[in-house]
């Protein structure tokens, strides 16, 4: 039975601002890479790049890097305005009036030939066609279509501050003289009634035609609607307030999505106006202070503020906002009207969806509520579970309440209140007495240890579709109930040792359990498993779990919140930007009907807006900015094929991601070399070296600040070619080449040989003919020679006879004739050696002569010598050997005219004159010695008598030739030898050794005792045995004389 109790409601104003949308500011200036601090406009192209107009050039920003663009060779860098036209082309104008276009497709920047001659203050793209309008102060409005500059309106007497298209023939002009409408058909300008003083910036509603926000310097911001008759209806206005200071609006941006106005006023502060609630928020001077030129909202929902001298500010809306309550919140719920209820230590705070102060319910039934641990709305009434005051039910419309029948145990605390096993049943979970089941506010049943509940401290319960209610208790196992029956699920096998704090169920009815020290577990197909990313949590103590509308799991810990993207399997930690740390309370999480998520903490509630949390993921898109091969930049647009060699290949890259771009990381893989992706890194370059030949693909992906890797990576393929010798075709070609070459060489050689052979045969033939002819000649000559030789031989043989005729014969002529031995062996037919003998004046004279040369010349000389000896001895009667030699010498010199020519012929001679009367031998020699074997007692002693060292004749330079006379006593039996040098100089069979004087001396000594006849034979044998087959060296003459 419901007890109608009086509800005491205390309404009081809670300090704190209910419009608490969080924006995070970041300032970009020259320190971050902008070329200048003056930013005049900003726009975003279809690829997502931001294009920033600065006083020092056009800059492209991908979220990571500011890159200044080269516009033209001139230093006209003062970029004043920009826009993107309907075709995606970027237009930008300069302070000096130059207009440039960056074509979307070609990405090339081209300058328009025509110039406005004055600054292009603003460029507005047509929504109807591809035209852009240029606003030039002091000159008017131009239109650019098909790259031609056309003057639309000349406005020298007023300034056009902004324009917008009303339709395809009307332009709304905001001018220094107020609003005007230009009609392109009539080419007329019509003033707009009620707006005849200066008006400034315009911004249109995208979803409401001909409706604009307009800056009116004397009035603030006005929302207007222009009808077809050019009449303006004022819809809304914001005048002098904290932001629109003195009605002066420097710049504004209408955020249509959120229905906000971002405004900078004369005080250079930035503020935010919620158009719906008219609430204002002025951002801190620490966040923003400066004069704004332009504001822009990018596709990533960041608000960009371009300033004069302060660079660029980026505001992005934090995905959460804080409902500051100055009290810790332990429970959260929502009624059907959308009012939010927050359980605090002093009762309940109620917040309507509309602005205004929160209501506070501190007492129910005249009693202090104290700490409210649980709030639950059952479609009609609000259940309030207190820490020690029991359970109440409150009607949110009438604010009447009743205290429910409850546990008899005093000071029992409520942990949570949730659905029972069927609609209309409510489960109240206590800290000491298990769970109570109610139907229609009447107590039905108490689950406790008495009836098999595992523990009486029940933190939380959850109802599944099948009607099972699971209990999270102070135990390592848990129960479920169906109706009034309890079942136990044993999970001890999983090593879980911690309590269960809370359950949450996914859309597919998978049950997730938050544990007090073991992270998260989930139950699927009646098996409990640990959550796969438990290790990623900073703490394993999980206080709460909640699934949002997108079926993503929110994990609440004491200090942290996580979101687990169920489908993508990505876990991200929520980044809080607030200076004070949040302490989240157990079980204090809630998903309202709008899909917003609420988490109770130590100083209020952190709320995640469904619109921002469940939005599509902002993937960052990596792209390669530069490719370098051995420090030389290469075009990325063309495929790269490198010849075989050593290369260092470097990639520089960035990522297009305007949300939390500072936290973007990269990972990459070089397919063809790597087997796995690199670890995430924030470095924006990588270098590869020592790459062998092969095909490579560099793949790059960006991971956004939430940990999501982009779905399609950027890639660049290149190849390092094999060295030529590693190609099969190379070997085939080489083989063919060799075969062909060898074949050709062989053929060529063969042809050459054949040719040479033919030539040779011809030559041989010719030579044969020639030789044959010559042979005939030779044969003829040979015959001639033979005839001549025969003739000469005959002649020489005849000469031999003559020579033999002149050689003396030794006869015994009494006492003057000793026994004489002559061994005479001419080398040729005739001899150069000869011997001579005469008897004169009782003397026996004998000479052994060796003329220069042998053969015919020697023979001639021997004739001369023999003749001269006869002449000197027989005619002149000279018998002294030394005188005989002198005479011969002089006679030869005269005969051969050696004084005047170079005839060196002469002869070596030994001359002996025996005087048997006195038994004396007189000897003189010209180079021919005399050996005398003196016989004494049948023994022979050799006395050698040297000759003079010069020959007869031949040496004309020897002026004084005095031959030595030797007088030698002789006796019977003495044997004297004279000889030419023929026997001494004879070479042996090997042609290496001469016979020599020594051997001749020993030989003669050995035979001297023999008779001359025997000696004749011995000498002949001796000589022939030495010479054997060797050619005879010279004429040989040995003369022996025995007394």
């Amino acid at each position: 039975m419901m007890l109608k109790l009086r509800l005491v409601l205390v309404c009081l104003s809670i300090s704190g601002f209910s419009f608490s949308q969080n924006y995070i500011f970041k300032q970009f200036s020259t320190d971050q890479g902008l070329p200048d601090k003056y930013i005049y406009s900003l726009t975003q192209d279809r690829d997502g790049f931001l294009w920033i107009s600065t006083a020092k050039g056009l800059v492209c920003f991908d979220g990571q890097i500011f890159k200044k663009q080269e516009t033209s060779k001139s230093a006209d860098d003062f970029i004043y305005s920009s826009t993107i036209d309907r075709n995606g082309n970027l237009w930008f104008g300069t302070f000096s009036g130059k207009l440039y276009k960056r074509e979307f497709n070609s990405k090339k920047i081209v300058a328009l030939k025509d110039s406005t001659g004055t600054s292009i203050n603003r460029i507005v793209a047509s929504h109807i066609n591809s035209a852009v309008y240029l606003l030039c102060r002091g000159k008017g409005i131009y239109c650019v279509q098909y790259d031609k500059l056309i003057e639309v309106i000349k406005t020298e007497d007023y300034l056009v501050n902004d324009i917008r298209e009303l339709d395809n023939k009307r332009l709304l002009l905001s001018t220094s003289e107020g609003l005007r409408v230009y009609n392109s058909e009539s080419r007329s300008v019509e003033k707009v009634e009620g707006f005849d003083s200066e008006t400034g910036l315009l911004q249109e509603h995208l979803d409401k035609k001909s409706t604009f926000w307009l800056n009116v310097p004397t009035r603030g911001l006005v929302e207007i609607e222009v009808d077809e008759l050019n009449r303006v209806k004022e819809l809304n206005a914001f005048s002098d307030n904290d932001i629109i200071n003195r009605n002066e609006v420097a710049c504004f941006y209408f955020d249509e999505e959120n229905n906000y106005l971002f405004v900078t006023g004369a005080n250079e502060r930035l503020g935010l106006i919620n158009i719906s609630t008219r609430e204002q928020k002025v951002f801190s001077e620490e966040d923003y202070f400066g004069s704004a030129n332009f504001m822009f909202k990018g596709r990533q929902k960041n608000i960009w503020v371009c300033t004069n001298g302060k660079g660029l500010f980026r505001l992005y809306r934090a995905e959460y906002d804080i409902i500051p309550l100055e009290e810790s919140v332990y429970a959260i719920s929502q009624d059907e009207q959308g009012n939010m209820y927050y359980g605090t230590k002093n009762g309940i705070l109620v917040s309507s969806l509309k602005s205004g102060p929160h209501k506070s319910i501190k007492k129910l039934d005249g009693k202090e509520l104290g700490k409210v641990n649980a709030l639950f709305f059952d479609n009609r009434n609000l259940w309030v579970g207190t820490e020690n005051k029991g359970v109440f039910v409150v009607d949110p419309k009438t604010l009447k309440s009743q205290k429910l029948n409850f546990s008899p145990i005093a000071n029992i605390g409520i942990n949570s209140i949730s659905d029972g096993h069927s609609p209309g049943y409510v489960q109240v979970n206590t800290n000491l007495d298990g769970a109570y089941l109610y139907k229609d506010y009447n107590l039905l049943y108490n689950f406790s240890v008495k009836n098999s509940l595992l523990h009486n401290n029940v933190y939380h319960s959850i109802r599944m579709k099948n009607g099972k209610v699971y209990y999270a208790t102070h135990n390592t196992a848990f129960n479920f109930s169906t109706g009034d029956k309890l079942y136990e699920i044993s999970i001890n096998d999983n090593g879980l040792i911690s309590d269960f704090n809370m359950f949450a169920k996914a859309k597919n009815e998978t049950l997730y359990a938050a544990t007090d020290g073991d992270g998260i577990y989930y139950i699927e197909d009646s098996i409990i498993r640990p959550f796969e990313l438990n290790e990623r949590f900073e703490s394993k103590y999980v206080l709460g779990l909640l699934f949002d509308r997108a079926d993503n799991l929110w994990i609440q810990q004491q200090y942290n919140l996580y979101e687990y993207y169920n489908r993508e399997k990505v876990l991200r930690k929520i980044k809080f930007y607030d200076k004070s740390q949040f302490l989240f309370n157990p079980n204090a999480c809630f998903l309202n009907k709008q899909g917003d998520l609420f988490f109770g903490c130590n100083h209020g509630v952190v709320r995640f807006n469904a619109a921002t949390t469940n939005n599509s993921i902002n993937y960052a898109n990596a792209y390669i900015t530069r490719l370098k091969v051995n420090d030389s930049t290469r075009s990325i647009g063309t495929p790269l094929q490198l010849k075989s060699g050593k290369y260092v290949i470097a990639f520089e890259f960035s990522a297009l991601g305007q949300k939390n771009s500072e936290d973007i990381s990269f990972r990459y893989i070089l397919e063809g070399r790597d087997n796995s992706w690199s670890e995430p890194t924030k470095q924006k370059h990588v270098e590869f070296s020592n790459l062998s030949e092969g095909n490579y693909t560099f793949k790059l992906e960006a991971i956004n600040s939430d940990g999501f890797a982009q779905k399609k990576w950027a890639e660049y393929s290149f190849a390092i070619l094999k060295p030529i010798w590693k190609h099969t075709w190379f070997w085939i070609v080489l083989f063919i080449t060799i075969v062909v070459t060898v074949t050709l060489i062989i053929r060529w050689r063969t042809a050459s040989l054949v040719k040479a052979k033919v030539a040779l045969e011809r030559i041989v033939e010719e030579k044969t003919v020639e030789i044959r002819n010559e042979k005939e000649i030779v044969e003829q000559n040979s015959k001639v020679i033979e005839a001549q030789h025969h003739e000469i031989t005959q002649s020489i043989n005849y000469a031999k006879r003559i020579q033999e005729a002149i050689l003396p014969e030794f006869r015994n002529e009494g006492s003057y004739s000793p026994e004489v031995l002559v061994f005479f062996l001419p080398k040729d037919i005739v001899s150069g050696d000869f011997y001579w003998h005469a008897l004169k004046s009782n003397r026996f004279l004998i000479a052994a002569c060796d003329c220069t040369g042998h053969g015919v010349p020697g023979a001639f000389m021997s004739l001369i010598g023999s003749t001269l000896l006869n002449k000197i001895v027989l005619d002149k009667g000279i018998v002294q050997p030394e005188m005989i030699l002198s005479e011969i010498d002089s006679e030869i010199s005269i005969s051969l005219k050696q004084e005047s020519n170079e005839v060196r012929d002469g002869m070596e001679t030994a001359v002996c004159s025996f005087d048997f009367g006195s038994n004396k031998l007189h000897y003189a020699g010209a180079k021919r010695p005399l050996w005398v074997f003196v016989k004494t007692h049948e023994k022979y002693k050799l006395n050698e008598y040297s000759a003079n060292k010069f020959p007869i004749g031949g040496f004309a330079d020897v002026k004084e030739k005095a031959f030595t006379a030797h007088e030698i006593p002789i006796a019977k039996g003495d044997t004297i030898y004279m000889f030419s040098d023929g026997i001494i100089d004879q070479f042996d069979n090997a042609n290496k050794k001469r016979l020599s004087t020594k051997r001749v001396r020993e030989f003669l000594s050995s035979i001297v005792h023999l008779s001359f006849k025997e000696q004749q034979t011995e000498i002949s044998n001796f000589f022939n045995s030495w010479k054997q087959d060797t050619k005879q060296t010279d004429d040989v003459l040995v003369i022996g004389i025995r007394i």
Binding site: T118, R137, G138, L159, N267, S291
Partner: protein
């Protein structure tokens, strides 16, 4: 010394004045136009504002003819030729005196919002000015035209780094080639104009309009001790020539206007060199306010007495 206030405190001229284009010249404005240049050192990178005091025509300060109907346009020019075009430096609004790039323009009527208050034009980026290397500065031009009506608009200017306060730009200066001013009310007040004598000038030709012979105009320098400048009468010009000596060159001279009677007197001044080329007046005298150097003659008897 505040170099960016026009007129400056040193000049002791309370306001500039520009009459509406339908006014009679005898009110004290020969051409209903005034041009003031502001120079910003090249090193200055922060934005600045040109602040206007009482730019509207209405209220206590301004000169009403027959009901407030005057509009005055304040237009700021920068970029090429804003200063370097000779027409910009002419004393009369002829030819291309609005040369350069129009950066901002505002026309004021009789709005109470700006009456007797400071308001701002800008902010401006110094780089929007024309870079004049010989001055080492970017130069901006403010052209004030009385575009309609027959009232007199009294106003002051200030080049400031704030839009809500008068804080001078470090190293900045302001100058003009013609001054249309309202002299102080009080009798015997002394106002100053500081024309600059460059290194080549041989003579100043000083002209003034509609002084109503309200006192004396004198020229001071280190060698001039109150050379009398011809004062003009009602609705007429006066001209007097003054030789410039070597000691006076590359400095400012001090032209003093000493009022005789106590009434509002609006006057026009300009100075040219001997070739009728206008000479600039600087809000703050370059090289300081010139002082006459007295030559003390010591006679011989005095010297003897000393001995």
């Amino acid at each position: 010394m505040n170099a960016q206030e026009v007129p400056s405190v040193q000049e002791n001229i309370p306001y500039l004045i520009t009459f509406g284009s339908s006014s009679d010249h005898s009110w004290g404005d020969d051409d209903f136009s005034q041009t003031v240049f502001f120079s910003i050192p090249k090193t200055q990178t922060s934005p600045f504002y040109i602040r206007l005091f009482d730019p509207d025509t209405g209220g206590e300060l301004d000169e009403m003819s027959a009901g407030w109907d005057t509009k005055t346009k304040f237009a700021v020019y920068g970029g090429k030729e804003a200063y370097s075009n000779p027409d910009a430096r002419n004393v009369d609004p002829k030819g291309n005196y609005k040369s350069g790039i129009l950066i901002e323009s505002k026309t004021y009527g009789s709005e109470a919002a700006t009456d007797n208050k400071w308001t701002s034009l800008g902010p401006f980026n110094p780089m929007q000015g024309e870079l004049i290397e010989e001055l080492g500065a970017y130069v901006f031009k403010l052209v004030i035209d009385g575009v309609s009506g027959n009232d007199g608009n009294v106003y002051k200017l200030f080049m400031s780094i704030r839009n809500n306060d008068n804080i001078a730009v470090e190293g900045g200066n302001a100058f003009a080639y013609e001054y249309s001013v309202r002299l102080p009310m009080s009798a015997k007040s002394v106002s100053h104009i500081y024309p600059f004598a460059d290194g080549l000038v041989a003579a100043f030709k000083i002209r003034n309009f509609d002084f109503d012979t309200d006192g004396q105009v004198k020229l001071f320098s280190s060698v001039k001790n109150g050379h009398i400048v011809a004062p003009s009468g009602d609705n007429e010009w006066s001209l007097s020539s003054h030789a410039i000596k070597t000691e006076e060159r590359n400095k400012c001279l001090d032209m003093q206007i000493v009022k005789k009677d106590e009434y509002k007197n609006d006057v026009v001044f300009y100075i040219t060199n001997e070739y009728d080329v206008p000479v600039p007046f600087f809000a703050a005298a370059i090289g300081g306010v010139p002082r006459y150097k007295y030559k003390i003659k010591i006679n011989s008897s005095a010297k003897l007495r000393e001995k």
